[in-house]
């Protein structure tokens, strides 16, 4: 084992919370989209009423959500690429722990981005509350 090659880790304490940022963003985006559509259709327009404002709102949520996920995913990717080590990040070192958490964060961000995009596709196909 070399001891000097890698730069110092940027943080001393790491937590599991950063791992679940992206899926949490997905969950918030999902619930907001669902609740917005449900409240709009139940309270403000008849069954055949337009969905136009909801579509724009969901488009907005989607941009914000994808932005947050991209930030979290980039952060994960940066940690995954930290130092000179490659997958599978299975050494008993703070460095590999750091890279592993980064890698898992990155993968979860990818999945969350796909899931958010899937949800956003819904507004492409629906124009009213039927």
């Amino acid at each position: 084992m070399k001891t000097s090659a890698a730069p110092r880790l940027p943080e001393r304490h790491e937590s599991l919370w950063r791992l679940i940022v992206s899926p949490t963003v997905w969950a918030v985006h999902f619930m907001l989209s669902y609740i917005t559509a449900a409240v709009w259709c139940a309270k403000y327009v008849p069954r055949s009423g337009t969905l136009e404002p909801v579509r724009w709102l969901i488009a907005g949520y989607t941009l914000v959500a994808l932005g947050a996920i991209a930030w979290n995913g980039w952060d994960g990717y940066r940690r995954h690429r930290h130092g000179a080590s490659e997958l599978p990040h299975d050494a008993d070192t703070p460095g590999d722990r750091h890279r592993f958490l980064g890698f898992a964060t990155f993968l979860l961000a990818l999945l969350s981005a796909v899931a958010v995009a899937f949800a956003a596709l819904a507004v492409l196909y629906f124009h009213d509350c039927r």
């Binding site: 070399k2 001891t3 000097s4 090659a5 890698a6 110092r8 880790l9 790491e14 937590s15 599991l16 791992l19 679940i20 899926p23 949490t24 997905w26 969950a27 999902f30 669902y34 559509a37 449900a38 409240v39 259709c41 139940a42 309270k43 069954r47 969905l51 909801v54 130092g83 000179a84 080590s85 997958l87 599978p88 990040h89 299975d90 050494a91 008993d92 070192t93 703070p94 460095g95 590999d96 722990r97 592993f100 958490l101 890698f103 898992a104 993968l107 979860l108 999945l111 969350s112 796909v114 899931a115 899937f118 949800a119 596709l121 819904a122 507004v123 196909y125 629906f126 509350c129 039927r130």
Partner: protein
């Protein structure tokens, strides 16, 4: 590679043989099982876990027999083997037993046995809590299953839709379901708390978060899902039971209620539940596959992604069970999209397993046979799942046998086969003997052929239009042959289960002991010698690999000779290590409690509340609950937060650790936090119900209805916030060793909390809100009562702290109790503020 001081190495020299023998004798004495009838007071994870698993298998067999009865009834058209009423009870109990008394408990019980072993821990952090969970499960399970023999079982299907289970179902069957399963769900949450804290805090030193066995990742995710999935059902069950018992119209449209709310709450639980069952089962495959291809898993990080990602997305699927309730298309589309998205992580892990098999050298074995068979079946179930996730297809297939086929492919392939793989794989760790390869293979082919013969035809029965849950069908609709084939297959399947059961229980006295680590696996659960000792692990190792038995030289020898941590039990006490959540740095030597009947009594007295409540005998039920609370207090008083005889202890390899930790460094604090997250989720479900009514119904609140007013709820909120502040001061002053100030603050908090609870109820009481008239007063009352009960529980917490300090059991340094009380009060304060905002503020905003 970089960046660290090296971990401690095991002792370089072998400890003297005499010392090793003396250490072993002390460990054996500390971990010995009680003898005779007292055996049932055992709390060791291996004992409780095995009872738990065996009981779950008995319920599985019971549910299986019910399935066979149904298949006899459906074998030919117009059959009169079962009456319609009996058939309704049989399919309801079959589904409920398989879900609540087999699938969930068996995941938790297998984890209770093997999680500590995989983590090189001597036991889980709360052994008595596991025992409590087991006794709750046993009592509740017998009560529910027994009801069938008296013709009193629930008969509304396992998802209990009102009004079928309210207005149309007098008798106690539905009450049994609602109260009995709420009781069992509490046990399930207790186990989840245990498993989460175990995974995060009881790992061996060096087992960083990137090294934990994949099984533990899955269990962590599944246990966390339990915390957020079960509370909506507990809340929903409470609403439905209150409707049935006291006529508060939560689901009754005549009183402004809505039966669709039940569907939301049920499936908010019900869909994640499928993944709570599936993930820990597929986790067994993640352990079996690397062992039998002799190489590390391919894509460890990807499998973690799959576990965590599935855990999240599975909460966004619940409405796909409700596609035919008439929701707007946009809502259906959102849930359809999430239902398609969840296939991605699910597929990723299966490809990881396939890649591992392809990259390694496959050793043929019975566990591998079941693993592969299970995956094949599960993939078919997954594909039909993608089909029914499409709303347009689901409209056709909904409530037909196609769904029955789909869900059995998912659950039998995703859970039953992997669990049987686990039986064949792990059995030597329980008894020191292997199961029979020959019987295992015979059983596999009976099960595999029988399963497909039963359920493959059901896809076609369903597509031809046969609805599920009908007790018979007329001749000539195209169902006859398909049903007969399914029935024949069911008996083949049943015979396979019988062969497995025989293999498990057949006497093995003359069979030689299995070799140690018979499959040549790489993870810590395979450390024990055969037959295994009760102490779990001889010395707690320093881990620096995902597969220490493969990759760390002389590992088994060093563990056996006590060259690692805690090789001894000098004080004759049960001990294990507590480590940090990310890097597994040792931070505490945790003393664990020994055998006791207290968990048993706690389960029976608290169970008494639910069982007596079923018959609406409210006073005896309340009395039983009060006794139960007393037993729990006795349990806490005598066995928790004990002050050690010395502050620190040398645990080996030059490491000295504290014996006492409080606040967020203690495992008990984490248990309170996790439990309260679940409780708060139940509260959020009630708030969801409030706003659901508002969204869907124009008459919520009804015109001219008086709300609880603003004054009393605000007074209550202020009093409870003050009680919270007093509790914080009590914690601070206790830490500062200002005893007098502590007593004043704690006593004040008790008074403020009681006043706050009374003021909370005064709002709806003084404005004369009648909860039986309309759902609006009903839900306001329920939120107020919920909050008041929290305040009263907070009084118990703080009163307990006062008593502990008075008795000299709590002081400035030993303050676990007041830290946990303070944590509880954070949740009380949050609950109170939300309740006040909703019941007082919302009518104003409207």
């Amino acid at each position: 590679m970089n960046d660290q001081p090296r971990d401690p190495e095991p002792l370089a020299a072998e400890p003297p043989l005499a010392l090793q023998r003396a250490q072993e004798a002390r460990l054996r004495a500390a971990w010995t099982l009680p003898k005779g009838w007292r055996y049932w007071s055992a709390v060791n994870n291996t004992e409780v876990g095995v009872w738990y698993t065996a009981t779950a298998f008995l319920f599985f067999a019971f549910g299986g027999v019910l399935a066979l009865l149904m298949r006899i009834q459906l074998a030919v058209p117009g059959n009169e083997f079962l009456s319609a009423d009996t058939y309704n009870q049989v399919f309801t109990v079959h589904g409920s037993v398989m879900m609540f008394l087999f699938a969930i408990p068996v995941f938790e019980s297998i984890a209770v046995i093997f999680l500590p072993q995989m983590l090189g821990a001597r036991d889980l952090p709360f052994p008595r809590l596991s025992a409590f969970g087991y006794w709750c499960f046993l009592l509740g399970g017998i009560f529910l299953s027994g009801s069938l023999f008296f013709g009193a079982a629930p008969k509304g299907g396992w998802f209990m839709y009102p009004p079928l289970t309210s207005a149309y179902q007098p008798g106690i069957g539905a009450d049994m379901w609602l109260l009995g399963f709420s009781f069992i769900e509490i046990a399930a949450i207790a186990a989840a708390v245990e498993l989460i804290v175990g995974t995060l805090k009881c790992r061996p030193p060096g087992m960083r978060i990137n090294l934990i066995p994949l099984y533990c990742w899955y269990v962590l995710v599944a246990a966390a899902m339990v915390l957020f999935a079960f509370p909506p059902l507990i809340a929903g069950s409470m609403l439905l039971e209150v409707e049935r018992a006291f006529h508060w119209p939560f689901f009754d449209p005549k009183g402004g209620g809505d039966p669709v709310l039940w569907q939301h709450l049920f499936w908010l639980f019900g869909h994640p539940e499928v993944y709570i069952i599936f993930l820990p089962s597929i986790a067994i495959i993640a352990m079996v596959v690397p062992t039998f291809v002799r190489r590390p898993i391919v894509g460890y990080g990807w499998v973690v992604l799959a576990a965590v990602g599935t855990g999240f997305i599975s909460f966004g699927l619940w409405v796909h069970h409700m596609f035919t309730t008439g929701l707007p298309g946009i809502s259906l589309a959102l849930f359809s999209a999430a239902s398609e998205a969840v296939a991605i992580p699910t597929g990723v892990q299966i490809f990881c397993f396939i890649a591992t098999i392809a990259a390694g050298k496959l050793v043929r074995s019975v566990p591998m046979l079941y693993a592969c068979g299970g995956l094949a079946i599960f993939v078919l179930g997954g594909l039909t799942g993608v089909m029914v996730a499409l709303a347009s297809f689901d409209f056709q297939a909904h409530d037909t046998y196609f769904i029955v086929a789909h869900l059995h492919y998912v659950l039998v392939g995703g859970a039953v086969f992997p669990i049987i793989a686990g039986c064949y794989y792990f059995f030597p760790l329980l008894s020191g003997k292997k199961l029979s390869d020959r019987l295992g293979k015979i059983a596999f082919w009976l099960l595999f052929a029988g399963f497909n013969l039963t359920f493959l035809p059901m896809h076609f029965t369903g597509l031809r239009g046969m609805p599920r849950r009908v007790f018979t069908y007329p001749e000539g609709l195209g169902f006859d042959t398909l049903n007969l084939v399914s029935s024949i297959g069911a008996f083949l399947l049943g015979s396979g289960v019988a062969v497995v059961a025989w293999d498990l229980i057949r006497p093995k006295t003359r069979q030689p002991l299995s070799a140690r680590n018979p499959w040549n696996a790489g993870t810590l659960e395979w450390l024990p010698s055969m037959p295994p000792e009760n102490w779990g692990v001889r010395s707690i190792p320093e881990v620096d690999s995902r597969y220490p038995l493969w990759e760390q030289p002389n590992f088994v020898r060093d563990v056996d000779q006590g060259r690692f941590y805690l090789p001894d039990a000098e004080e004759g006490l049960r001990e294990t290590l507590v480590t940090t959540a990310i890097d597994a740095k040792p931070v505490q030597c945790l003393r664990l409690p020994g055998p006791s009947f207290v968990p048993f009594w706690a389960a029976f007295t608290i169970g008494g509340f639910f069982i007596l409540g079923t018959f609406h005998w409210w006073w005896p039920a309340l009395a039983s609950l009060v006794v139960g609370i007393g037993v729990v207090c006795y349990w806490l008083w005598t066995a928790t937060a004990k002050r050690p005889e010395k502050p620190e202890k040398h645990v080996g390899l030059g490491l000295t650790l504290p014996l006492y930790q409080s606040g967020s460094a203690s495992v008990g604090w984490w248990a309170v936090l996790i439990t309260m997250l679940a409780v708060f989720t139940a509260f959020v479900s009630l708030v969801f119900a409030y706003f659901f009514y508002w969204t869907i119904h124009d008459d919520f609140p009804p015109r001219g209805a008086k709300g609880p007013g603003v004054l009393w709820p605000c007074v209550a909120g202020a009093l409870l916030a003050a009680a919270w502040a007093a509790t914080m001061l009590a914690r601070r002053w206790n830490r500062a060793d200002r005893a007098g100030a502590f007593y004043v603050a704690a006593t004040a908090s008790v008074g403020l909390a009681l006043a706050g609870a009374a003021a909370m109820l005064a709002g709806p009481w003084l404005t004369g809100m009648d909860p039986t008239r309309h759902v609006y007063p009903a839900i306001v009352w329920l939120l107020a009562i919920w909050t008041a009960l929290h305040a009263v529980t907070g009084v118990l917490f703080n009163g307990y702290c006062l008593a502990r300090r008075l008795a000299g059991r709590m002081d400035a340094r030993h303050d676990i109790e007041i830290h946990n009380a303070a944590l509880f009060w954070h949740f009380v304060a949050a609950t109170a503020l939300v309740t006040v905002a909703v019941i007082a503020g919302f009518p104003l905003a409207k």
